[in-house]
């Protein structure tokens, strides 16, 4: 049997569509997870910040949830939600929510009291103050959370391969099962590249959209 090279370029050139499809699934799973998580975390973070008694319980509960290994969580869901997208997304959304809620809360807490006083003095009502003063100032922290959540989710998506999803993880699993290096190596590299590109894109977006926070 000939030695299997780490990347078989001939095979790769005729199977590009496999990688594009996996990449697309990977990006879709990630976008849904981070999007849904953001929609949950913003209100939840604001509530946990506003009603102070909720802050520590909310962060503790999510902290415990976050400790659960993703493969264990997916497996606990399988008997109820089956193998597939729903099971994968419940886990991915859950982990992203923890990262985001924490950053929303920390960002809101970091708004200086002077600024809140000034906003009150200018006659802002609580809701308007939240939307026009507090959230814009918390955005750098929220953005940092989105970046971490996105990169983390891209990594975790590969693990959903064991429950039949996986995007690029599916190709890693295929490489393992068939003892074939090319899909394994290329998919792992693509996953890292995807995470780094997503991180840089978000960093650039943050710079462009938050001109008031450019010093950091």
């Amino acid at each position: 049997m000939p030695v299997d090279p780490w990347i078989n370029w001939d095979w790769l050139s005729t199977h590009v569509h496999l990688f594009l499809a996996a990449l697309q699934e990977h990006v879709t799973l990630t976008l849904i997870a981070v999007g849904v998580a953001l929609a949950i975390s913003l209100p939840l973070g604001v509530i946990a910040h506003r009603w102070h008694a909720l802050r520590n319980p909310v962060l503790t509960v999510f902290g415990i949830f976050y400790t659960i290994p993703s493969i264990a969580l997916f497996s606990l869901l399988v008997p109820y939600t089956g193998l597939g997208t729903l099971t994968a997304e419940i886990g991915l959304v859950g982990y992203a929510v923890l990262i985001l809620v924490r950053n929303v809360v920390v960002g809101l807490e970091a708004v200086p009291a002077d600024i809140l006083d000034a906003a009150n003095g200018m006659g802002y009502r609580p809701m308007v103050r939240l939307l026009r003063v507090e959230l814009p100032l918390a955005l750098p922290s929220i953005f940092a959370g989105i970046r971490i959540a996105t990169v983390t989710t891209i990594g975790l998506v590969t693990i959903t391969a064991v429950i039949g999803m996986g995007g690029l993880g599916e190709l890693i699993l295929e490489g393992l099962v068939n003892n074939f290096h090319t899909p394994l190596v290329v998919a792992t590299v693509l996953s890292v590249v995807l995470a780094l590109v997503a991180d840089l894109t978000l960093a650039a977006t943050q710079r462009l959209s938050l001109p008031w926070a450019r010093t950091a």
Partner: protein
């Protein structure tokens, strides 16, 4: 509800509590492997992070190692290591150790960096030599954050060790992976519960260790517990 009843029956069955595929054996395998990797990882990562933090050099490197580590899919690394090193514990130990290093480097760097400059100057004024200053002044102050890094790493290693069953590793992951392969959802669910409990137990045990390691005076000083540890989840 039938799943839960079956799982309960699975746990009560004495067959699952003995032999080479019994819970005690699998648990010991899992803990032993994870502990080895965290220990090797700590021996590599902590000196690097502590040195960089003490001298305040290569801060970008120390911070970015976690950013890059977060981007690396643990599953892919595990399988690639398996293809390089073949069957056995070696590929598992190498990839788990590699995953354990980034959060410990970043957190110990930040921990040493955050030691108050005034305190360091006071230590100098009291005649501490550099080594003694690191050992007796800076490290005790840095313990909470360093231990947060160790905790993060340990939980991630326990989680990734579960995936090691995919490359013929032992440990509790066997129940999960075999359960999936055999479509035996009872075994899958039971294995997942054991893995989740072990991860939580790891977190709690290391939190307890942290409480022992932090000197009393500093504990009082740092009453409001800051959550500044690196967020790191790869498995």
């Amino acid at each position: 509800m039938s799943t839960l009843a079956n799982v309960l029956r699975w746990f009560l069955d004495p067959v699952h509590w003995s032999g080479s595929d019994g819970i005690p054996t699998r648990l010991v395998q899992h803990i032993q492997l994870s502990a080895e990797c965290v220990l090797i990882g700590a021996l590599i990562a902590l000196p690097i992070g502590i040195l960089l933090g003490h001298y305040g050099r290569f801060g970008n490197l120390a911070i970015n190692v976690s950013n890059v580590g977060r981007a690396v899919p643990s599953f892919g690394i595990l399988v690639i290591a398996f293809q390089i090193f073949g069957l056995g514990d070696l590929p598992i130990i190498i990839s788990l150790t590699a995953l354990a290093i980034p959060p410990m480097v970043t957190n110990s760097y930040v921990a040493l960096r955050e030691v108050d400059a005034d305190i360091k100057e006071a230590a100098r004024g009291m005649g501490y030599r550099e080594f003694a200053q690191v050992l007796r002044v800076e490290l005790p102050l840095a313990v909470p954050l360093i231990m947060a890094g160790v905790r993060t790493s340990a939980v991630q290693v326990v989680a990734t060790a579960t995936l090691a069953a995919l490359i013929a590793g032992g440990g509790l992951g066997r129940y999960v992976i075999d359960g999936l392969d055999q479509q035996d959802y009872t075994k899958l669910f039971a294995g997942a519960i054991l893995v989740a409990l072990l991860a939580l137990a790891t977190e709690l045990a290391l939190a307890a260790l942290e409480r022992v390691l932090v000197p009393r005076g500093i504990r009082l000083l740092r009453a409001p517990k800051a959550q500044r540890a690196t967020t790191f989840k790869v498995a």
